[in-house]
């Protein structure tokens, strides 16, 4: 009996989803290196950079936070931008809560690792047990790798006498672009493109007139307006598909589509490349490359 239990436990923790979770963790390490280096180049200390990765632990928000400060924006604008970008994690939580069934301290702990990668890996599993394993394995692996890499990147950048000599000070927008393009590609929706363009134009037009950091916040207004605009009547029948597509724009949503948890098979079709066995190399790269977090 005991052996059987041990074997069950062992098997569960060396299952393909655990292996995939570890792989994704390693892949996100490359972003962590970049984040640590950019953060120090932007003027934050090594401790501050690491604190962001430990405590905020959601990549796109961290990049944005550092970017707003580097551009001369105030702390309030930095926090607001990071919060708006981090809001999507709340959506993941909604999709995951019933599957994970976390209560009490487990929920408070688990919430910290609700990010792009853990949500994407959990939602695409066929049964709740595997989903829970995938969630924790991916979340914890990414947490470990992301924080280790941040520290290494920050220490590396600090070792440079002058980060500007290496061009590190202007790499920020290139990093954002690398986070943005895969999402636009995945979305493939006119509405999402329109929102991105309207947001970009608004931010640029507002730049001369408002304090640093505010243009990016102003960009949220047309984006939300476009998101809330009613779907055209002829599309009504396909409203569900429309919503799913919109999300695909977002994050991993093709896989994390909110319908995903209930309408399992249906939405998962959209994510195609990754089966429940999970994550061939391509799938892993894809998740990694979207690690906006």
């Amino acid at each position: 009996m005991m052996f059987a239990q041990v074997r069950v436990g062992f098997g569960r923790w060396w299952s393909p989803v655990v292996r995939d979770g570890l792989g994704i963790g390693v892949a996100t390490g490359t972003y962590g290196l970049s984040f640590g280096a950019l953060s120090v180049a932007a003027g934050l200390s090594v401790a501050q950079s690491s604190a962001l990765s430990l405590l905020m632990f959601t990549g796109a928000s961290q990049f944005a936070f550092v970017g707003v400060l580097a551009a001369g924006g105030g702390p309030v604008a930095a926090v607001a931008t990071a919060t708006l970008l981090g809001g999507r994690n709340g959506l993941y939580g909604l999709q995951l809560s019933r599957t994970l069934g976390l209560r009490g301290w487990r929920r408070r702990l688990g919430a910290h690792v609700v990010i792009d990668e853990s949500a994407a890996m959990a939602v695409r599993q066929a049964d709740p047990d595997t989903a829970r394993t995938a969630f924790w394995a991916t979340g914890l692996a990414v947490f470990a790798c992301w924080n280790t890499a941040t520290l290494l990147g920050a220490l590396g950048a600090r070792a440079l006498a002058d980060p500007a000599a290496l061009g590190l000070d202007v790499v920020g927008p290139a990093a954002f672009l690398a986070l943005l393009v895969p999402r636009l590609r995945a979305a493939g929706q006119p509405r999402v493109w329109a929102a991105a363009l309207a947001a970009g134009a608004t931010a640029l037009l507002a730049t001369p007139f408002v304090p640093a950091g505010v243009p990016v916040l102003a960009a949220a207004v047309p984006a939300v307006a476009l998101a809330l605009a009613p779907t055209r009547p002829r599309r009504t029948a396909g409203a569900g598909a429309d919503a799913a597509g919109g999300e695909a724009g977002g994050v991993e949503p093709a896989d994390v589509a909110p319908g995903g948890a209930d309408a399992a098979g249906g939405n998962r079709g959209g994510s195609a490349d990754v089966g429940p066995e999970g994550t061939d190399a391509a799938g892993r790269d894809r998740v990694g490359s979207e690690c906006g977090r």
């Binding site: 905020m56 809001g87 393009v181 640093a212 960009a219 724009g249 977002g250």
Partner: protein, 101 residues
């Protein structure tokens, strides 16, 4: 001040995650809310790219960053890995500065 912002931002981001796990799903199971949550990150990233590339302290400018981001875009469209994109951007920036003095 930066420390306060770090703690504040960490708190709001954590609360967003926790709220998702705690709120009854039907409350936010609304197509438009979901669409907004999905589109916001894309829109904000686009705004960040453009303002950080073409503005300095409240003025619109065209400088070496335009070149850097252009090079990065090509690498991204060729599906280069993230770290390669960032490294290329740093190299292009350093080279352009050397060349342009």
């Amino acid at each position: 001040m930066i420390w306060a912002a770090i703690l504040g931002g960490a708190l709001t981001c954590y609360l967003a995650k926790l709220a998702g796990l705690s709120v009854p799903a039907r409350v936010l199971r609304n197509e438009r809310v979901q669409r907004a949550a999905a589109m916001l990150p894309i829109a904000l990233l686009c705004a960040l790219v453009l303002t950080q590339t073409f503005s300095t302290k409240g003025t619109l400018v065209l400088d070496v960053r335009g070149l850097v981001v252009g090079a990065a875009l090509v690498a991204i469209l060729l599906r280069a890995p993230f770290l390669a994109v960032v490294a290329l951007a740093a190299v292009v920036a350093a080279a352009a500065r050397l060349a342009l003095g």
